[in-house]
Structures are given as C-alpha cells and as structure tokens.
Symmetry: C4
Subunit: 284 residues, 4 copies
Amino acid sequence: MSHPSDPPRPDRRAPWRVTLGNIIFNNDTPGARLFDLALTLMILLSILLVMVESVGPVRARLGPQLRGAEGALTLLFALEFLLRLVTARRPTHYARSFFGIVDLLSVLPGLLSLLLPGAQAFQVVRALRLLRIFRILKLGRYLSEANIITSALRASAAKITVFLATVLTLVLIIGTLMYVVEGPANGYTSIPTSIYWAIVTITTVGYGDIAPKTGLGKFIASATMILGYGILAVPTGIVTVGLTQAHAQSQARRSCPACGEAGHEPAARFCKRCGEALPAAPEP
Amino acid sequence: MSHPSDPPRPDRRAPWRVTLGNIIFNNDTPGARLFDLALTLMILLSILLVMVESVGPVRARLGPQLRGAEGALTLLFALEFLLRLVTARRPTHYARSFFGIVDLLSVLPGLLSLLLPGAQAFQVVRALRLLRIFRILKLGRYLSEANIITSALRASAAKITVFLATVLTLVLIIGTLMYVVEGPANGYTSIPTSIYWAIVTITTVGYGDIAPKTGLGKFIASATMILGYGILAVPTGIVTVGLTQAHAQSQARRSCPACGEAGHEPAARFCKRCGEALPAAPEP
Amino acid sequence: MSHPSDPPRPDRRAPWRVTLGNIIFNNDTPGARLFDLALTLMILLSILLVMVESVGPVRARLGPQLRGAEGALTLLFALEFLLRLVTARRPTHYARSFFGIVDLLSVLPGLLSLLLPGAQAFQVVRALRLLRIFRILKLGRYLSEANIITSALRASAAKITVFLATVLTLVLIIGTLMYVVEGPANGYTSIPTSIYWAIVTITTVGYGDIAPKTGLGKFIASATMILGYGILAVPTGIVTVGLTQAHAQSQARRSCPACGEAGHEPAARFCKRCGEALPAAPEP
Amino acid sequence: MSHPSDPPRPDRRAPWRVTLGNIIFNNDTPGARLFDLALTLMILLSILLVMVESVGPVRARLGPQLRGAEGALTLLFALEFLLRLVTARRPTHYARSFFGIVDLLSVLPGLLSLLLPGAQAFQVVRALRLLRIFRILKLGRYLSEANIITSALRASAAKITVFLATVLTLVLIIGTLMYVVEGPANGYTSIPTSIYWAIVTITTVGYGDIAPKTGLGKFIASATMILGYGILAVPTGIVTVGLTQAHAQSQARRSCPACGEAGHEPAARFCKRCGEALPAAPEP
C-alpha cells in the first residue's frame, strides 16, 4: 500500500513495460480486467486439477491428460511471474512481497517436475506441487470489501490474543486433569492427546474418537462444555464491538483538506460542503 | 414488489376473476383468510404424507391409503394452480415468479404419476414426487416479519461473501495439508475428502467419521478448531451490525410527503406531525 | 403479576393465615427467607435422590434408604402444598397458577406410591415420580435478574419465530434431498431420519451416527454446514439487538407521577428530580 | 491492586531487598524485564517437560534426562519462591495471595520427589507434579488487556448466572425425559448419564458415544438441538452488550482532580483540559 503523500519517484521503465504493467497490476481498464479474469480462471482451474488428481480412480484413468494440463498451466504461470517481474515499477519490491513469493512458490514445483521428467515419481516433488494451492490467495487481491473486516480484527487483535491465551491455558489444565482422571486405559494416552481432546470439546467440535468413560470424567467433560458454551460468547462480543467501531470510523475517516469537513462517503471524490477535491481513498 | 409510484395499469379482468383473485392473492378479507388457512393446512398435510410414506413399515401397511390421499391432494393443488393462473392480474408475471414455478413443480410429479398409472412403479417418478417438498416454501408468503432480517442480510451480503471466500480458502489449504500429513491410510483418501473433513471441523460439526490419527495431524486439527472458534465470531458480528442498522433505518424510512417528517411507525397511516396521509408501506 | 393500579380487594383471611402466607409467599422477612432456603434445599435434595436412584449399583445397595428419604420428602412437599392452598390470598388463583400445578404434579406420584405400596413396582408410577424434576422450576421464583433477558427474548419473539421457520424449512428440504442422494443403504433410512441428520448437521452438533458416504452427499453436507455456520449468526444478532434495547428501556421505563421525570434506577424509590414517591417496581 | 489513595507505609526493608524486589515484582526496568522473560521461558519449559514426559515412548527413552531437567527446574522455582518471600514488601501478604499459593503448590510436589527419592514411584506424587501447570497462570500478570474483558464479564455475571441456571434446568429435564424414553438399553444407563448426553447435545459438542435410537428419542433430540441453537445466542448477546458498555466506560473512567474533566485516553498522564497531572491508572 503506497501512501498518497509519498513523493512521486521518477519512472524509468520503457513505455511498453509501463503499458503492460498497467494491464497486469491495475484493474481499471478493459484490458486489465480481461487479464484479471483470465488469471482467476487459470487459478481456479489449477486448483481443480490438483484436487481431482488426488482422487484415486480419476488419476488411474485420466492421469496423462491431467499431467499434460498441469504442465501447460505451470508454463503459463511461469510466464506470468516473468511478466510481473519485468513490468513491475519496483521489481525487487514485487519479488519480496507476499504475492511475489506466492507466485514463485506455486510455479517452482511444477517447473521442477517439467525440467526433471524422471523425477516426477519422487514423492517429495508431488508434495511440493500441492503448494500450488496457495495461488488461491491471489484472488484476495480483488476483494476490497475485506478491508473493514480486517481493520475490525486488527483493532480487536489484543483482546483476541488475551482470549486465545486464556483458552489455551484452560485447555492445558483440563487436558492434564483428564489425563489423571481417565488415564491411558480410556484413550487419554498422554497429556498432548488429552489436550487435543480438550480442544475438540471446548470448541464444541466433538469428534467422539476420544470420549470420557468414568463418571468423574463425564462430569469434568460436562463442565468443560458448558464453560466452552459460555466463553464462546466472548470473541463474538469482541468482534462485534470492533466491527461496530470500524463501521463508524469508516464513515468519518477522510476529511476535506480545505475545510476539514469529515464523514464523506467512501465513493465521494469532492467535499460535500465546499466542493474541494478529496484525497484519494487509500488503495484496498 | 410494486413501487407505489408505478402508474396504475387498466385492469381488463372479468368481475368474477377480480373477486376470486382478491380471495386467492390477498389476505385481508374473511374469505381470503379462510382460503389461506385451508391452503396452509393442505401444504402441511402434503409434506406430512411425503415424510410418512418414506418410512418403510408405514408404507408397507398404509401404502394404498397414502397414495389415495396424495392423489386427492395433487388434484387440489393442480386446481389451485389453474385458479391462480386464471385470476392473476398478470398471469405470465405469476407463472414466471418464484412461487409460480414452485406451484408448478410441486404439482407436476404427482400429476404425472396420476396420468400414467402404470408408471407409478418407476423409480424416477417416485423421486420426482419428492419435489412436492418445495410446497413448504409457499408458507413463506405469509411471513412479513422476515423483511428486517432479509434486509439486514442483504446489507451484509458483500461482507458475508468475503467471509465465506476466506473460509473456503482456509478449508482448501487445511484440507490439502491434512491430505499430505495424514494420507489415505488414515481415512484422508483424497483432497476433496480432506476438504470435507476440514469443513466438518472448522464449522465445529465434528462427525468423527474421519479423525486425525498422527500427532502432527492432531496438532493441525487443534489449530483448525481454535481458528474456527475465533472466526465463528466474524459473521455474527457482521449480522449484528447489519441488524442494528436495519432496525434504525426501519424507524426512519418513510417520510411525510407534505412536511417531510420522518421516523413514522411501521403501522402508521397518517403523518404524526401534520396528519397528511402517508405513502403505503412497501409490500412485504 | 399484579398491576400497581389494581384496586385493593378486601382481605378476608384470618390473622394466622395472613402471617403464614407472608412467610410462604413473600421473601422479605427473616422468617420468609428461612422458609425459602429450607424449601430450596429440599428441592435440590429431592432432585439428587431421583438422579442417584437411577444409577443401577447405587439402587441395588441403598434402595430402601433412598425410598425412605423419598417418602419423607414427598410428605413434606404435600404439607407445603396444603399450606400454600390454605394461606394463599386467592386459593383458586394459586391452584390454577403454573407453580400451583407444578406443586401438585410433583407431589402426586410420590403420594400414589405411598398410598398404594404394592403399586410401587409398576413402571408407570416410577416414571410419574420423575415429574418431581419440575420442582426445580420453583427456584426460578427467586431470580429477578431473569426479567431483562425474558423481555429481550419476548421483543425478539417474532424474528426468532421467522428464523426457526426458515431453519425448519431448510432442514426439511435438505433432509429430503439427502434421502434421495444417499438412500437407505447409507443410513438415511427415511425422510424423518434424514431430517434428524440435517438438524444434527445444521446445528453443528454432529453425532456421526449417520454420516454421508457418497461424494455428492459429502458435498451437500459441506454446503449445509457452511450454511449453518452462516445463519448461526442471525439469532445471535437478533438477541443482541433485543438485549441492547431492553437494557436501554429498563433505564427509561418508570416515570415520576408528579413531574414525569423518567430514567430512574431500578432500585430507586423516590423521584430523583422532585422527591415524589415512585410507583413500586413491578414484581419479578 | 493498591489504591492510589492508600497512605504510604514506611518501608523497613534493607536496600538490597528493595533493589531485588523491584526486579522481581515490577516490570518497568531492563533488569525486571529480563527476569520476567527468563521466568516465562522457565515456566513454558517446565510445562513442556510435564507434557512430553506423559508420552510413553518418549518417557521410555529419555526418562532420566527428563527427570534431571525437572529436578533442576524445581530447584530454580523453589529459589524464586524464597526470593519473592524475602524481597516482598509485605511477605505474609504475598504468601497468602493467589500467586503465592500457586508458587508454593507448583514447587512442593517436585521438592517432595527430590527429598524422598524412593517415593518417586508413588502414583500420587506423580499426579501432584502436574499442579505445576498452574504456573502458566503467572503469565496472566503481564496481560493488562484482559481487564476490559474481565470487567465486561463481571458486569454481566448476574445475567450469565441466570442463563447457566436455565441451561442446567433444561438439561436436567431433558436428560430425565430421555432416560424414560430411550432407557438403559439404548445407552442412557442412568439419569446422570442422560444429563451428560443432554449437555453434550445442547452445547452442540455431539460426541456420538450416546445417540438416540428410537423415533421419539430422535424427535426430542432434534428439539433439544434447535433449542440449543437458539439459546446459544443469549450469552453472546449478554457479553456483547457488556463489552460495549465496558468499552464506553473505559473511555470515561478517569477524571481530572483539578477540573473534573473526564474521558482521558488510557495512556494520558496529564489532563487534556487544564494540564493537571492525572492520578495513575490502576495497576492491571
């Protein structure tokens, strides 16, 4: 995110790199929107391929076709990575950004298995290929609605941390208690396993792979559940208060540089009181 | 929903069609209320029939009686559909509306099995008959209280979409991770199955048909549960903020055409300040 | 609940009945508080007895003692019921009130098994005795804090009804769908059973006694869970908005009969502005 | 928590005890922060040791090393306890405080097994050692963010108590009902077990170790789940309202001793209106 007040740096890119960069990195021209749409479809297709290939019967019948499609997609994504590197205004800035690393990581395993065809059988390479799933995070670039949620969560981060620490402490104590009460004979084979059970219980997931057998164990489990039921309310309250405030602030954030009037709508471009041009809204 | 400002269209229906249409489509005369009550009872009875017939022992003993009752109900619903078609102010408008399609769909399979008696044994017709369950959606016509909830949800739709997309991404990544960590030997037979497990876990349903066996798998599962516990708070917060605003707006929505006074109660028909007739509240 | 504006009815009870009635029905004198405490302990003891007697090994060893204690408690509760009947200001009013019926119902089965000792072996009488559990509801008399929650829930009742109707409709449709998709072979033996599964799933309980086996079934189940996750937020939002308003109203409810000043604290007995005596707060 | 208005008591400790006490009990000098960091690491290490030792294979291979590390940690914690006792401004006040008792309890079992080496085989001593888990509660000393949550929960305590009592009553009635309906043959072996099942169900945990088999039982279970789904909203609403108010109050808590101006920010040290030094914020 670049602050609007940053002094403009001279752009030393060749014109074709500027044009291409606008298509690839922005999304406000028809060409850029087409590029985004094609990229989104490719990402979804690539995820679908990884998922479908993991199903035994499908892999047995369509193996070669799936591998062919994967190879083609990998080459396209590698080309996209190169183009981004070439046309970015600050290539090193992009390469070290979160999505730059995601782009590289999601291309590398595929390229490896293309360049070393004999290595395709290696289990390690197969596992690396699954990193491609991270490509879906790219879709997040296009979600500008996520900002208000993120800022609400960030404002509540300290409270949520305290809450999680409390839950972890509770789970540690309850898990240890149940290990002593129920013991390995009833499935609570170690303290880490008992803590796993306590987390399964306090979050109300309740697999049932481990369940208390003794009367005292059932009593402690019941108390744990009602406790979990009660404290489930705390993070919800925290986030609700945070969201209420984030919502109120998002209405009062931008102020007019001429008259100081605040409370402009997100889409407003001119001050509603004096008509002065408003500073651009920060990029999502 | 017809806007109050729509210009009135000349009504070309015969008088008996207007009278019958008022009984069938409105609910503010004794006749219309009786019709609604009878229809509601028929819908509930028809759903009960579908449910009861699926229970093996009941079907074995009361099969013919159930089929007879179904035939009678189907004829009555077909009659209702025809009457609606004939008496509607804009028949094509009704036929293409949501409830028009529901009415047709819930009658068609029954009619088919009545018209083709020999076909009653066909499995396809039996399955089609289950479509009758959609009739319950007709009951929604009478719920005017649902508006505030619907408008709150619509106002929060963008945030909820972002939230669901985030959850789906998480579930995709966690499912893939567990497929690699636990593998087919522990029940995680494919990535789709692992994603199914991740959804079962993050929504705190926790069937237990698939559960982690390895230590690392239990650790990832625990982190997933605590994550789900934390983000369960987000949609609640979103909807609460949306409901609070929908509630505030519903009090300030209508304004007087004469003096501009706003904040009239939903049931008010005249301006509380100057006595001017208020515009009709929008239809539910 | 008697409205403060009710005209006082002449009290025709003898003095000892008035005195005893004050002890039994009120809780603002030392004697009345002692009576309430003793009654509460008896109720809890009687519930404990019913629970403990249902545990096989305990019943085998302590059967006669438990039955003796139950007989004694039953006689005491019958005595209490008679005293209430005799000392109530309006005996028929008490006998037809909710707690009058609870008092009678919780005493009857015990009295029956005392009067008909040979009938103690009848299973029906044993089951009737369990009605005694309703006595615990008497404890609710002493909780005045419950009012704000109750009034919030009552204000949201229409919205909650709409919500429950929506959930029931969803569950009906999803259950029918799963009955068709999975079928009796996978445990979905009838539509009612499938609806039971849908409720288990959408409420995120997730026993796992029935779970989808086919791919399509798992897909529908996943959609159901995420749906349940999303709409779980709606009742919470409704109740939160209701509680916020109930809280605001409880501060502004009582107004001074002399100057009309509102917003008195719940415990205030005189107007904070003009000193006029305030109307009594409504009984809990 | 010492009130700012307490009259200062003369400090009779020797200078080295004052210096050491500042390091041990405060956390606002570099030395004190280093001490806190070391202590926190030791606590986490000790908890890790207890957890790891409970895993069978690890104990078999690394038993002596783990016991050696535990002995060393126990001695360090005993030393810390002694230092706190010696350097505290009011030693008896510390020894009787919550953390004084936690410090002693978490050291005692380890010391016992060190002093009585032959007793190490006793199961009781092994269990006592697990009390060390309470040491993690010491970490709570450093969380000042927990205050707003705690005060919100304290303000809602009465409402939450009423809510829990309602849930317990419901669970008692539903458990008894299911014991009668399903009976010991279907796993509901006693009323306490049935209540355990009702808690597992109403909190949406749903292990599935006990599940209804009969049609009527499934119907009651479904009603219980939907009930639990609905009332899950109540504590969330309570806590949200409580948090909203605690947040509003935390902004208006401190008032200036000179001009009475309220609403100072938590980090403010001087009145924003008249510049007077504000009273210190209460210790977390």
